[in-house]
Symmetry: D2
Subunit: 245 residues, 4 copies
């Protein structure tokens, strides 16, 4: 089997403007993610907001099996044309993994059809992600929960469609819960939203988080399913007597 | 309990341009639907594409519990501003019932996040809609299936998210199947897609179809649920020790 | 509309053997629940384990629209024959609301097909139930969450099938989460599992909890849907040419 | 990756008593299935009703990743003890693929919690299975539909819980539809029900059907997910102040 081709997209702004983030993710969040994915044998590349076409040309997308998306402060700067291009590719089968603050990205909102809004707080509290579907491939190799010692809180109500499969539910020290691992089929593509991953915490270096993302890439990779066709089918496959209304 | 306020929206173009449709629906499809809904005790009004703001002013929407949507040949003429207004109202709790060719309306596609495309054929063949969730309120008062003697065919693959609840599956004489009654929660609102209802067939006069739409209005009507709030929650509800990173 | 007929079933053992429980629920948990349900206009009766046939004769079940079930220490004493009778009635359309420790009842396990096991702790900690589907009728009249000051904890992994609709997720002070409000269609019947309600806490006197149960009765009440038939259909509805193998 | 271990279970009675079936499946339905699965690289064995413990000893089950189940005329002869053993293994992670008339097996009914009843007719009519979730791994390598020229009909209402994922819907020449490919998570295990496969038709020799079953084995194979634990957790993970009730 040829290897899965992953493109890690990052807004890549915090890392340039906030020394704390630069220190934590010196090669950018995309760099940190791409590194551990490459070590898993995926064919990995990166793309960022400030590249031409945000690095997501039609050619790049056509050669991407799974796109990972991290954005936060600059969702509005992502061009509608690129969003439409990504949207079309997802419906055609490309996997999409949306990370953390990517909940508010144009592409995730377009795919969900809802505001994707939530409650949040940034005081470095504890989070525990419970696996609620232990037979799901994204839970492979995990314990019963993942503990993140310090993180930003996201709280319900998370304004999303009920996921096709809910894999993780988070507990937060400050008193909230959150649907943290959400699987969707959209068109021929698969979408996974995964909550952890704030820019000021070393969450993408945590082995269990890397494990989830590795599993998610495998789950979201395209399936060589039917070539779906649409439109006019003037000839019925079975005999239908003429109707003269 | 005060009565449910229904607004029946219709593109209302075929009825003006095609004598066959005019003869079938002399007061428009919206008129035919509004009439039987009113007879069920709903507070019913209509709105059409060629009215100012398509008849869907903010005030009309604010006073609508359930919006019914029929469109076909002029989806592109519906203004994006009105679509955004309807979208927002659905997420805030207004019910939306999308009829037949409304599958391709801007509002349905925006809520679903997919193309909502399908296969179709217009030779007046037979359809049978099977109830697959007999305990669902939309199945109230029905038999095991509804037979429509002559209709337009819609065939799978229907490019929608898997419904939260699938109520009807259609059989077509020419050889296809279709997910014909699909329930969704989106935001605080409920959406029901119902397949039957072509402009050249007297389907909206069929008692079982009227029964389904009556049931669907009751199911889709808003619930006085929680006032959902979003955004920053700087103060945790529980004690969290300061984190100094 | 005639009123919904509710039967509140209770094991009714703790109340007889534990003075603390007797003091809290002097007329039994069933008595406390039946009282507030009656005040909502439901036609309410009770049944308990130590009555003949556990109070659930065929006649009682035939005249029950929604059965509420509380059990804890004596699940094994419920006769398999009565369980089979209740099971059959649920599949035929009767609503079933399973409360708290009823997760381990024979009837709930038979309907779910899984162990329905979970983690638990009884130290009187705080619980917060978040509404995650605000447009669902069971969320009517609630705030964004319900807080229970002191309760028994139930923690994930809760070994149930993913609910058709997940309405509540609980946060617990001691560090766990739980899917606390779970809706299922089974046959023509509807099942709602609701977590709160331990015998040593006054939870069934809490107005929000009573609100949820009142809503749940309305949601679970039978729908006059199709009379479903099964079995041999030797005659096809459409012409099929003879096949001579 | 070590190969997936599949056990194909067959009632193996029709093949002994009906010369037509013997001619069609000379090595039994299990033999035919095991043969093509082995050719796909799975480690395959068979088991049948008349073997001791129906060939499903604890040791066989402990060494089975995916169990395939075909039964029809002798469901009642399968011992409850063996059913309980299989049930436990599924909840612990073993995949289960239930074929055709296996819908009425004890194990499928126990896992579903419903009657699993349906309508049927045996006149050799045509069936078309439409893929409705084209991105699902079970749809890999298929066209938009599978056509079976002559088969037994199964018609809705199929009394099952709504599947977690619905992959196929069938059209039948005689006028019915059916949910023909249904995926479920149950415990840590995965269950796939697949409708085609009557003993008097050469359906298990049809390449697309073999493709589906091959895909289903891969999908249903166990995931090395969390070791789920249950029961008393007297010590909270977080501080909880003593409650003195």
């Amino acid at each position: 089997m040829s290897s899965i081709r992953v493109t890690v997209w990052n807004e890549f702004r915090h890392e340039k403007s906030d020394p704390k983030v630069t220190a934590l993710y010196p090669r950018g969040i995309h760099g940190a993610i791409a590194e551990f994915l490459a070590s898993q044998g995926f064919e990995t590349r990166t793309a960022t907001l400030d590249e031409p076409e945000h690095g997501l040309t039609q050619e790049v997308l056509n050669n991407t099996d799974v796109l990972m998306w991290w954005g936060h402060m600059a969702h509005g700067e992502v061009s509608d044309e690129v969003v439409a291009r990504v949207h079309e590719r997802v419906l055609a089968g490309m996997g999409l993994i949306v990370l953390h603050s990517g909940h508010f990205s144009k592409i995730f909102r377009a795919l969900m059809g809802t505001t994707c809004n939530l409650k949040w707080r940034e005081i470095g509290e504890k989070e525990r992600l419970y696996v609620v579907e232990p037979g799901h491939p994204i839970a492979q190799g995990l314990g019963e929960f993942i503990e993140i010692p310090h993180t930003e809180m996201y709280g319900e109500r998370f304004d999303i469609p009920a996921p096709d499969t809910l894999v993780f539910i988070s507990w937060f020290q400050g008193g909230e819960v959150f649907r943290s691992g959400c699987c969707y089929h959209r068109g021929a593509g698969k979408v996974f939203y995964f909550r952890p991953g704030h820019e000021t915490f070393p969450i993408f270096y945590q082995p269990e988080i890397q494990k989830v993302l590795t599993n998610a890439v495998r789950w979201a990779a395209p399936v060589a399913g039917p070539t779906v066709t649409f439109g006019h089918r003037p000839q019925p496959m079975e005999h239908v007597e003429p109707f003269l209304g």
